[in-house]
Amino acid sequence: MAQNDHMEEKVNKRRFHLSDNAFAGLMLLPVFAILVSVVFIPILKGIYVSFCEYKISNLNEPVWNNFHNYIKVFKNGEVLIYFKNTFTYVFFAVGIQFVFGLAIALLLNQNMRARGIFRGLFLIPWIIPSVVVAIVWTWMLQQQFGVINYILYNLGITSTVNISWTQQPFLAMMAVTMAAVWRQLPYMMVMILAGLQSIDVSLTESAKIEGANSWNLLRYITLPSIRPVITTTIWIAVMANFQMFTIVFNMTGGGPVNATTTLSLAAHKKAFLEYDFGAGSTIGVLWLTVLFIATLLYNKFNDRYVSDYQ
């Protein structure tokens, strides 16, 4: 009797047994459900409405208008300015933070007392919310009472204490880039520092014995050893800065005269200020296309590097 019960239990267990694939699928179901509903479907809808006249007045019935939105955004040439602004901002923000991040990481990788404390202090800007970063920098760069204007004037770098950072195109871009670099520098530093700590010490020691100087060590040992970390970190930083909205929006609002209007601000302006959701989506789709091509190029570059390395 007991044996029969045992057998029955075994059969029942077998009946409810899930295959590994099914169980893994079950585990992944929530994440895909969320991603599909809040990312993929909206993206597909965005691509569709970029070919439609879609405004607040016809929210329920987008009207197909072929490539009219694309023609419209290219016709006045504004979208090219947005692309130029975005590329300029991303290039300088990522480039500067890489150079400074590498320098600080190299400094903090050396043997020194209180190294942990210094590392911790350098990380602090990372925890400041972007909106607060924008406010602090706007205040520091304020035309009449800004502390940066005062310091620059007293150091003899500028001839006047009244510099309007947000009213001149070049200075506005510089102000936004400075704030973004300040906020993101710790990320770059931490990633590179992690890479530096993984370098085999015997490599650097043997190079030193061979007579390599500091520059040679950096050029031929350190940088090649952390190349995967550098490429990945830069790529993530590029993606993050391509999406940058908060700092630019709060510091300059895209001005003066669209000088700091990046793609994210342009899409926002079209969709949420002019209520032309079709045109806003068009900018989004163009942006997505550029990022997609950039990702393909990155993957190709990465594959070639991996095959070279192997």
């Binding site: 990312v39 329920n60 800007p125 909106v131 920098w137 009449q144 502390v147 929006f249 899409a267 989004g284």
Partner: protein
């Protein structure tokens, strides 16, 4: 045995590091100094590098204003619901990816990572229009309208809409901008309030920063 004298570059390294730390932390120091001084001292030249007549008036103002307490509550709700949702989903998917090998695993992981690449504003546009359409059918709409109505009847629609959306960070922006236009339409405010709450929670699983971006977007619809 005499103590070994350390070379100059040893001390220069420390001096340089301390200088860098000072430069990097200066904006935070300036923010702190500014928070302890009244506007009359802030709006003066030369700037006061040490707080002049420091007081806690700004902090008292923040903590005695119910509006700001609401901002903190909103932040807490958004961040805690985001963390809980993220944890649940991430633990499950992380376990699935790490413990099992299945067909299409690489593709699935790439698909998840690709999400980082998508322009957030493009996603926002679609979700905004979607929610705008469906918000009309959400029963809570009436409650939200009531809340806004009471805000209007007490002459405080500007404050009311602020407390609906704001977290401390967007509240900070809101306070500094001193540009409280209000939304104009009560129903519109109510709808946007609903959209905001729903969106903030759902999108938390994609990225916490989206929340703040979304808040910024909606604070500027007027």
């Amino acid at each position: 045995m005499p103590a070994r004298i350390k070379p100059v570059h040893h001390y220069a390294k420390y001096a340089f590091t301390v200088l860098l730390v000072c430069i990097v932390l200066f904006p935070i120091y300036w923010m702190l100094v500014s928070s302890f001084m009244p506007n009359s001292y802030l709006m003066s030249l030369p700037p006061h590098f040490l707080p002049k007549n420091p007081n806690f008036a700004n902090y008292i103002k923040i903590f005695t204003n119910n509006q700001y307490l609401t901002f903190f509550k909103n932040s807490f709700l958004v961040s805690s619901s985001t963390v809980v949702l993220c944890l649940i989903v991430s633990i499950l998917s992380g376990y699935g990816f790490s413990r099992y090998n299945f067909k299409g695993k690489g593709f699935a992981m790439t698909a998840i990572l690709t999400v980082q690449m998508f322009p957030i504003v493009a996603i926002l546009i679609s979700l905004y229009t979607l929610y705008l359409k469906h918000a009309r059918h959400i029963p809570q709409h009436h409650r939200a309208v009531n809340q806004v109505d009471s805000g209007v009847s007490h002459g405080g629609i500007g404050n009311k809409e602020g407390s609906f959306f704001n977290s401390p960070e967007s509240a900070a922006r809101y306070t500094v901008s001193q540009d409280d236009h209000g939304f104009g339409s009560r129903k519109y405010v109510a709808r946007v309030h609903l959209l905001g709450c729903t969106f903030k929670t759902i999108h938390g699983c994609n990225s916490y920063q989206i929340g703040s971006k979304f808040l910024c977007l909606f604070l500027n619809i007027s």
